[in-house]
Protein backbone atom coordinates (compact mmCIF):
# COMPACT_ATOMS: atom_id res chain seq x y z
CA UNK A 1 0.00 0.00 0.00
CA UNK A 2 1.16 3.52 -0.73
CA UNK A 3 0.01 6.88 0.57
CA UNK A 4 0.05 9.54 -2.14
CA UNK A 5 -0.06 13.29 -1.53
CA UNK A 6 -0.04 15.92 -4.24
CA UNK A 7 1.92 18.88 -2.86
CA UNK A 8 -0.16 21.68 -4.33
CA UNK A 9 -2.12 23.83 -1.92
CA UNK A 10 -0.98 26.55 0.47
CA UNK A 11 -3.95 26.82 2.84
CA UNK A 12 -6.32 23.86 2.47
CA UNK A 13 -5.11 20.27 2.95
CA UNK A 14 -3.30 18.74 0.00
CA UNK A 15 -5.06 15.95 -1.94
CA UNK A 16 -4.07 12.65 -0.35
CA UNK A 17 -5.19 9.06 -0.82
CA UNK A 18 -4.15 5.44 -0.26
CA UNK A 19 -3.33 3.19 -3.20
CA UNK A 20 -4.79 -0.05 -1.84
CA UNK A 21 -4.27 -2.08 -5.03
CA UNK A 22 -1.12 -4.11 -4.29
CA UNK A 23 -0.58 -5.00 -7.93
CA UNK A 24 -0.68 -1.35 -8.96
CA UNK A 25 1.57 -0.37 -6.02
CA UNK A 26 4.16 -2.96 -7.03
CA UNK A 27 4.06 -1.83 -10.66
CA UNK A 28 4.49 1.79 -9.62
CA UNK A 29 7.44 1.04 -7.34
CA UNK A 30 9.03 -1.10 -10.02
CA UNK A 31 8.78 1.75 -12.54
CA UNK A 32 10.14 4.28 -10.06
CA UNK A 33 12.96 1.96 -9.08
CA UNK A 34 14.17 2.08 -12.68
CA UNK A 35 14.22 5.88 -12.40
CA UNK A 36 15.59 6.09 -8.85
CA UNK A 37 18.11 8.80 -9.78
CA UNK A 38 15.19 11.14 -10.47
CA UNK A 39 13.37 10.48 -7.19
CA UNK A 40 13.70 13.25 -4.60
CA UNK A 41 13.49 13.65 -0.84
CA UNK A 42 10.06 15.22 -0.03
CA UNK A 43 11.70 17.49 2.55
CA UNK A 44 13.91 19.11 -0.08
CA UNK A 45 11.10 20.25 -2.34
CA UNK A 46 11.07 23.98 -3.17
CA UNK A 47 8.41 25.64 -0.98
CA UNK A 48 6.78 27.81 -3.66
CA UNK A 49 3.15 28.24 -4.67
CA UNK A 50 1.45 25.84 -7.08
CA UNK A 51 2.26 22.27 -8.08
CA UNK A 52 5.33 21.17 -6.12
CA UNK A 53 5.36 17.44 -6.82
CA UNK A 54 3.85 14.13 -5.79
CA UNK A 55 4.89 12.58 -2.49
CA UNK A 56 4.72 8.84 -1.97
CA UNK A 57 4.99 7.08 1.37
CA UNK A 58 5.42 3.33 1.56
CA UNK A 59 3.75 1.15 4.18
CA UNK A 60 5.18 -2.21 5.20
CA UNK A 61 8.71 -3.35 5.96
CA UNK A 62 8.94 -5.72 3.01
CA UNK A 63 9.27 -2.93 0.51
CA UNK A 64 13.00 -2.17 0.81
CA UNK A 65 14.32 -4.57 -1.77
CA UNK A 66 14.67 -1.84 -4.38
CA UNK A 67 16.63 1.43 -4.44
CA UNK A 68 13.75 3.56 -3.22
CA UNK A 69 13.45 5.26 0.20
CA UNK A 70 10.35 4.91 2.39
CA UNK A 71 9.30 8.48 1.56
CA UNK A 72 9.95 9.96 -1.85
CA UNK A 73 8.78 12.68 -4.20
CA UNK A 74 8.56 12.82 -7.98
CA UNK A 75 7.90 15.58 -10.53
CA UNK A 76 9.26 18.25 -8.21
CA UNK A 77 10.97 20.30 -10.93
CA UNK A 78 14.19 20.42 -8.93
CA UNK A 79 16.14 18.89 -11.81
CA UNK A 80 15.59 17.83 -15.39
CA UNK A 81 12.77 15.30 -15.18
CA UNK A 82 12.63 12.58 -17.87
CA UNK A 83 9.33 12.19 -19.68
CA UNK A 84 8.90 8.77 -18.04
CA UNK A 85 8.66 10.43 -14.60
CA UNK A 86 6.07 12.88 -15.91
CA UNK A 87 4.06 9.98 -17.39
CA UNK A 88 4.12 8.16 -14.05
CA UNK A 89 3.06 11.33 -12.24
CA UNK A 90 0.17 11.84 -14.63
CA UNK A 91 -0.92 8.21 -14.24
CA UNK A 92 -0.89 8.55 -10.44
CA UNK A 93 -3.13 11.62 -10.61
CA UNK A 94 -5.45 9.92 -13.11
CA UNK A 95 -5.86 7.01 -10.71
CA UNK A 96 -6.81 9.10 -7.66
CA UNK A 97 -10.58 8.64 -7.86
CA UNK A 98 -10.13 4.84 -7.94
CA UNK A 99 -8.85 5.07 -4.39
CA UNK A 100 -11.29 7.41 -2.64
CA UNK A 101 -12.93 4.74 -0.47
CA UNK A 102 -10.42 5.06 2.37
CA UNK A 103 -11.42 8.31 4.04
CA UNK A 104 -9.25 10.87 5.85
CA UNK A 105 -10.41 13.85 7.95
CA UNK A 106 -8.68 16.06 5.34
CA UNK A 107 -11.21 14.85 2.76
CA UNK A 108 -13.81 17.11 4.38
CA UNK A 109 -11.97 20.10 2.92
CA UNK A 110 -10.28 18.36 0.00
CA UNK A 111 -12.52 15.53 -1.23
CA UNK A 112 -11.01 13.10 -3.73
CA UNK A 113 -13.52 13.50 -6.53
CA UNK A 114 -13.49 14.07 -10.32
CA UNK A 115 -13.57 17.88 -9.93
CA UNK A 116 -10.45 17.84 -7.79
CA UNK A 117 -8.81 15.39 -10.18
CA UNK A 118 -9.45 17.75 -13.12
CA UNK A 119 -8.01 20.67 -11.15
CA UNK A 120 -4.88 18.74 -10.14
CA UNK A 121 -4.35 17.49 -13.70
CA UNK A 122 -4.63 21.06 -15.00
CA UNK A 123 -2.07 22.36 -12.52
CA UNK A 124 0.20 19.39 -13.27
CA UNK A 125 0.05 20.01 -17.04
CA UNK A 126 0.96 23.68 -16.49
CA UNK A 127 3.90 22.58 -14.38
CA UNK A 128 4.98 19.97 -16.97
CA UNK A 129 4.88 22.44 -19.88
CA UNK A 130 6.80 25.05 -17.89
CA UNK A 131 9.36 22.39 -17.05
CA UNK A 132 9.75 21.40 -20.72
CA UNK A 133 10.09 25.08 -21.69
CA UNK A 134 12.86 25.63 -19.14
CA UNK A 135 14.57 22.43 -20.23
CA UNK A 136 14.44 23.36 -23.91
CA UNK A 137 15.79 26.84 -23.13
CA UNK A 138 18.57 25.13 -21.23
CA UNK A 139 19.43 23.08 -24.32
CA UNK A 140 19.38 26.13 -26.57
CA UNK A 141 21.30 28.32 -24.15
CA UNK A 142 23.59 26.08 -22.15
CA UNK A 143 24.81 27.83 -19.03
CA UNK A 144 27.98 26.56 -17.43
CA UNK A 145 28.38 27.11 -13.71
CA UNK A 146 30.25 30.32 -14.48
CA UNK A 147 31.25 32.01 -17.74
CA UNK A 148 33.15 35.16 -18.68
CA UNK A 149 31.31 37.64 -20.88
CA UNK A 150 32.30 40.91 -22.52
CA UNK A 151 30.35 43.88 -21.14
CA UNK A 152 28.58 45.34 -24.16
CA UNK A 153 28.22 48.70 -22.37
CA UNK A 154 31.96 49.18 -21.95
CA UNK A 155 34.96 49.11 -24.26
CA UNK A 156 37.17 46.46 -22.73
CA UNK A 157 35.51 45.14 -19.59
CA UNK A 158 34.63 41.56 -18.83
CA UNK A 159 32.71 39.99 -15.98
CA UNK A 160 31.42 36.58 -14.98
CA UNK A 161 27.84 35.30 -15.10
CA UNK A 162 26.74 32.30 -13.02
CA UNK A 163 24.06 29.74 -13.71
CA UNK A 164 20.89 30.68 -11.78
CA UNK A 165 20.88 28.46 -8.69
CA UNK A 166 18.16 29.63 -6.25
CA UNK A 167 18.17 26.35 -4.33
CA UNK A 168 21.48 27.36 -2.75
CA UNK A 169 19.65 30.19 -0.98
CA UNK A 170 16.16 28.76 -0.60
CA UNK A 171 16.24 25.15 0.51
CA UNK A 172 17.71 25.64 4.00
CA UNK A 173 15.38 28.01 5.95
CA UNK A 174 18.28 29.33 8.02
CA UNK A 175 20.22 30.29 4.89
CA UNK A 176 17.14 31.95 3.44
CA UNK A 177 16.42 33.89 6.65
CA UNK A 178 19.95 35.13 7.32
CA UNK A 179 21.05 36.30 3.88
CA UNK A 180 19.69 39.26 1.94
CA UNK A 181 19.93 40.98 -1.44
CA UNK A 182 23.52 42.17 -0.78
CA UNK A 183 24.61 38.61 0.02
CA UNK A 184 22.93 37.42 -3.17
CA UNK A 185 24.45 40.14 -5.35
CA UNK A 186 27.96 39.50 -4.02
CA UNK A 187 27.22 35.75 -4.14
CA UNK A 188 28.56 35.27 -0.66
CA UNK A 189 26.51 33.53 2.02
CA UNK A 190 27.69 35.18 5.25
CA UNK A 191 24.56 34.36 7.33
CA UNK A 192 24.82 37.92 8.73
CA UNK A 193 22.23 39.78 6.60
CA UNK A 194 25.16 41.69 5.09
CA UNK A 195 25.12 45.49 4.95
CA UNK A 196 26.95 47.73 2.46
CA UNK A 197 29.88 49.35 4.24
CA UNK A 198 29.65 47.36 7.46
CA UNK A 199 32.80 45.35 6.68
CA UNK A 200 34.71 48.53 5.84
CA UNK A 201 33.41 50.68 8.70
CA UNK A 202 31.01 52.85 6.71
CA UNK A 203 27.69 51.57 8.01
CA UNK A 204 24.96 52.49 8.74
CA UNK A 205 24.16 54.88 5.94
CA UNK A 206 21.07 56.91 5.03
CA UNK A 207 18.94 55.20 2.43
CA UNK A 208 19.87 57.18 -0.66
CA UNK A 209 21.71 56.12 -3.80
CA UNK A 210 24.96 57.93 -3.06
CA UNK A 211 25.19 56.75 0.53
CA UNK A 212 24.43 53.08 -0.11
CA UNK A 213 26.69 53.07 -3.17
CA UNK A 214 29.40 54.74 -1.07
CA UNK A 215 29.15 52.03 1.57
CA UNK A 216 29.29 49.30 -1.06
CA UNK A 217 32.24 50.91 -2.83
CA UNK A 218 34.12 51.09 0.45
CA UNK A 219 33.61 47.30 0.56
CA UNK A 220 35.32 47.13 -2.83
CA UNK A 221 32.63 47.46 -5.49
CA UNK A 222 33.46 49.70 -8.46
CA UNK A 223 31.30 51.54 -10.96
CA UNK A 224 30.53 49.63 -14.16
CA UNK A 225 33.10 50.13 -16.91
CA UNK A 226 35.89 50.63 -14.37
CA UNK A 227 37.23 47.31 -15.65
CA UNK A 228 38.33 44.80 -13.06
CA UNK A 229 41.49 42.79 -13.83
CA UNK A 230 41.44 39.04 -14.33
CA UNK A 231 42.86 38.73 -10.82
CA UNK A 232 39.46 39.80 -9.46
CA UNK A 233 37.80 36.71 -11.03
CA UNK A 234 34.92 36.04 -10.48
CA UNK A 235 33.63 39.54 -11.21
CA UNK A 236 29.85 40.09 -10.86
CA UNK A 237 27.70 42.69 -12.56
CA UNK A 238 25.21 44.01 -10.00
CA UNK A 239 22.59 46.76 -9.93
CA UNK A 240 21.53 48.96 -7.00
CA UNK A 241 18.08 50.48 -6.42
CA UNK A 242 16.74 52.45 -3.47
CA UNK A 243 13.39 52.99 -1.82
CA UNK A 244 14.24 56.62 -0.91
CA UNK A 245 14.69 57.12 2.80
CA UNK A 246 13.80 53.53 3.63
CA UNK A 247 15.80 50.75 2.09
CA UNK A 248 18.02 49.54 -0.74
CA UNK A 249 18.00 46.47 -2.99
CA UNK A 250 20.47 44.69 -5.27
CA UNK A 251 20.21 42.52 -8.40
CA UNK A 252 22.86 40.27 -9.97
CA UNK A 253 23.22 39.45 -13.68
CA UNK A 254 22.84 35.72 -14.31
CA UNK A 255 23.69 33.48 -17.21
CA UNK A 256 20.69 33.23 -19.55
CA UNK A 257 19.93 36.91 -20.14
CA UNK A 258 18.14 37.70 -16.89
CA UNK A 259 18.82 39.01 -13.38
CA UNK A 260 18.45 37.27 -10.04
CA UNK A 261 17.71 38.79 -6.64
CA UNK A 262 16.64 37.98 -3.10
CA UNK A 263 14.24 40.38 -1.35
CA UNK A 264 15.31 40.33 2.30
CA UNK A 265 14.77 36.98 3.96
CA UNK A 266 12.42 35.75 1.22
CA UNK A 267 13.35 33.30 -1.52
CA UNK A 268 15.88 34.07 -4.24
CA UNK A 269 14.22 34.39 -7.65
CA UNK A 270 14.51 35.85 -11.14
CA UNK A 271 11.10 37.52 -11.34
CA UNK A 272 9.87 40.98 -10.33
CA UNK A 273 6.90 42.13 -8.22
CA UNK A 274 4.61 41.33 -11.17
CA UNK A 275 5.99 37.81 -11.53
CA UNK A 276 7.78 38.71 -14.77
CA UNK A 277 11.27 37.47 -15.63
CA UNK A 278 13.73 40.32 -14.94
CA UNK A 279 15.59 41.14 -18.13
CA UNK A 280 16.19 44.80 -17.21
CA UNK A 281 16.46 45.94 -13.58
CA UNK A 282 15.88 49.54 -14.66
CA UNK A 283 12.38 48.84 -15.94
CA UNK A 284 11.19 45.82 -13.94
CA UNK A 285 8.45 46.14 -11.31
CA UNK A 286 10.32 47.15 -8.14
CA UNK A 287 7.44 48.34 -5.95
CA UNK A 288 8.59 51.30 -3.86
CA UNK A 289 12.26 50.96 -4.85
CA UNK A 290 11.87 53.73 -7.37
CA UNK A 291 15.41 55.16 -7.56
CA UNK A 292 17.72 53.31 -9.93
CA UNK A 293 21.24 54.03 -8.70
CA UNK A 294 23.39 52.32 -11.31
CA UNK A 295 25.50 49.28 -12.12
CA UNK A 296 28.63 48.05 -10.36
CA UNK A 297 31.17 45.28 -10.58
CA UNK A 298 31.91 43.16 -7.51
CA UNK A 299 35.18 41.26 -7.75
CA UNK A 300 36.58 38.61 -5.48
CA UNK A 301 38.26 41.12 -3.15
CA UNK A 302 34.90 42.62 -2.11
CA UNK A 303 34.38 41.75 1.56
CA UNK A 304 30.92 41.91 3.08
CA UNK A 305 29.63 41.22 6.58
Amino acid sequence: MLRVTVDLFSGRPNPTWIISDEEYSEKLLSQLSELADHVRDPDEVFPGLGFRGIQIQRFGDDAQRDRLPMRLAVATGRSEEPSEIMEIAREIIQSMTRFNKIRFPDHELTPINPELQDYVLKRFEEFRLAHIRDWVLGILKPCPLRKTVHDSECKDCEYEESRFNPDFWNVDPQVRLNNNCYNYARNWRTDTFAQPGRASGNWPNPMACNDVAGGAMSDGLVHRCNCLPQGEYPRRLVALVVDPGWDYHWYRKQCGGFWGHKPGSTAARNTDNSGVLITDPETCDRGGYTDFCGYFYAGKSVVIT
Binding site: S10, G11, Q195, P204, M207, D247, H249, G264, D272, D285
Partner: protein
Protein backbone atom coordinates in the same frame (compact mmCIF):
# COMPACT_ATOMS: atom_id res chain seq x y z
CA UNK B 1 7.97 34.64 20.50
CA UNK B 2 9.98 36.80 18.15
CA UNK B 3 8.10 39.22 15.89
CA UNK B 4 9.42 40.91 12.74
CA UNK B 5 7.87 43.55 10.50
CA UNK B 6 8.79 42.06 7.11
CA UNK B 7 9.33 45.22 5.10
CA UNK B 8 12.91 45.62 3.96
CA UNK B 9 15.16 43.84 1.51
CA UNK B 10 18.60 45.15 2.43
CA UNK B 11 18.49 46.63 5.92
CA UNK B 12 17.34 44.49 8.86
CA UNK B 13 13.62 44.44 9.57
CA UNK B 14 12.42 45.96 12.85
CA UNK B 15 11.66 43.34 15.48
CA UNK B 16 10.20 42.92 18.94
CA UNK B 17 9.25 40.11 21.30
CA UNK B 18 6.04 38.80 22.84
CA UNK B 19 5.78 37.49 26.38
CA UNK B 20 4.55 33.94 26.92
CA UNK B 21 1.13 35.30 27.90
CA UNK B 22 0.98 37.47 24.78
CA UNK B 23 2.01 34.47 22.67
CA UNK B 24 -0.81 32.41 24.12
CA UNK B 25 -3.24 35.27 23.44
CA UNK B 26 -2.02 35.45 19.84
CA UNK B 27 -2.49 31.73 19.30
CA UNK B 28 -5.99 31.79 20.83
CA UNK B 29 -6.92 34.79 18.70
CA UNK B 30 -5.66 33.04 15.57
CA UNK B 31 -7.40 29.75 16.39
CA UNK B 32 -10.72 31.58 16.60
CA UNK B 33 -10.48 32.74 12.97
CA UNK B 34 -12.08 30.68 10.20
CA UNK B 35 -9.88 28.62 7.87
CA UNK B 36 -9.90 29.83 4.26
CA UNK B 37 -10.63 27.14 1.67
CA UNK B 38 -9.27 29.12 -1.26
CA UNK B 39 -6.71 31.51 0.19
CA UNK B 40 -5.01 34.13 -1.97
CA UNK B 41 -1.34 33.61 -2.80
CA UNK B 42 1.10 35.19 -0.38
CA UNK B 43 2.88 38.35 -1.54
CA UNK B 44 6.61 38.02 -0.97
CA UNK B 45 8.10 40.59 -3.37
CA UNK B 46 9.71 43.95 -2.67
CA UNK B 47 7.76 45.97 -0.09
CA UNK B 48 5.63 45.21 2.95
CA UNK B 49 5.11 41.45 3.26
CA UNK B 50 3.36 41.21 6.63
CA UNK B 51 4.28 40.60 10.26
CA UNK B 52 6.15 37.36 10.89
CA UNK B 53 6.08 35.62 14.27
CA UNK B 54 8.48 32.79 15.12
CA UNK B 55 9.13 30.57 18.12
CA UNK B 56 12.88 30.24 18.74
CA UNK B 57 12.28 26.84 20.36
CA UNK B 58 10.22 25.56 17.43
CA UNK B 59 11.88 26.49 14.12
CA UNK B 60 9.18 24.68 12.14
CA UNK B 61 6.47 27.04 13.39
CA UNK B 62 5.75 30.47 11.95
CA UNK B 63 2.82 32.85 11.65
CA UNK B 64 2.42 35.61 9.07
CA UNK B 65 -0.29 38.23 9.58
CA UNK B 66 -0.80 40.28 6.44
CA UNK B 67 -3.90 42.40 5.97
CA UNK B 68 -6.90 40.05 5.97
CA UNK B 69 -5.07 36.72 6.22
CA UNK B 70 -3.12 34.88 8.90
CA UNK B 71 -0.89 32.03 7.69
CA UNK B 72 0.33 29.47 10.18
CA UNK B 73 2.95 26.88 9.30
CA UNK B 74 3.86 24.08 11.67
CA UNK B 75 5.06 20.49 11.65
CA UNK B 76 1.44 19.49 11.05
CA UNK B 77 1.22 21.49 7.83
CA UNK B 78 0.09 24.96 6.91
CA UNK B 79 -3.24 26.74 7.03
CA UNK B 80 -4.56 30.16 6.15
CA UNK B 81 -7.19 31.88 8.28
CA UNK B 82 -9.41 34.79 7.30
CA UNK B 83 -9.05 37.97 9.35
CA UNK B 84 -11.25 40.52 7.57
CA UNK B 85 -10.52 43.29 10.08
CA UNK B 86 -6.79 42.57 10.19
CA UNK B 87 -7.24 42.17 13.93
CA UNK B 88 -4.12 40.01 14.36
CA UNK B 89 -1.95 42.38 12.33
CA UNK B 90 -3.21 45.37 14.33
CA UNK B 91 -2.78 43.53 17.64
CA UNK B 92 0.82 42.67 16.76
CA UNK B 93 1.53 46.28 15.79
CA UNK B 94 0.17 47.46 19.15
CA UNK B 95 2.79 45.26 20.84
CA UNK B 96 5.63 46.76 18.78
CA UNK B 97 6.34 49.69 21.11
CA UNK B 98 9.22 51.84 19.88
CA UNK B 99 10.31 49.24 17.28
CA UNK B 100 7.85 50.65 14.76
CA UNK B 101 7.60 54.44 14.56
CA UNK B 102 4.65 56.42 13.12
CA UNK B 103 6.43 56.97 9.78
CA UNK B 104 6.87 53.24 9.40
CA UNK B 105 3.24 52.64 10.34
CA UNK B 106 2.19 55.09 7.65
CA UNK B 107 4.53 53.37 5.22
CA UNK B 108 2.64 50.08 5.62
CA UNK B 109 -0.76 51.76 5.46
CA UNK B 110 -1.60 52.38 9.14
Amino acid sequence: MRVELDLFSGRPNPGWTLTAAEGAELEAMTASLPIMVKPPPRFDGLGYRGIVVRKPADPGWSLVAFRDTVRVRSEKGSEVRADPDAAVERWLLRKAGDAVDPDMLARIGY
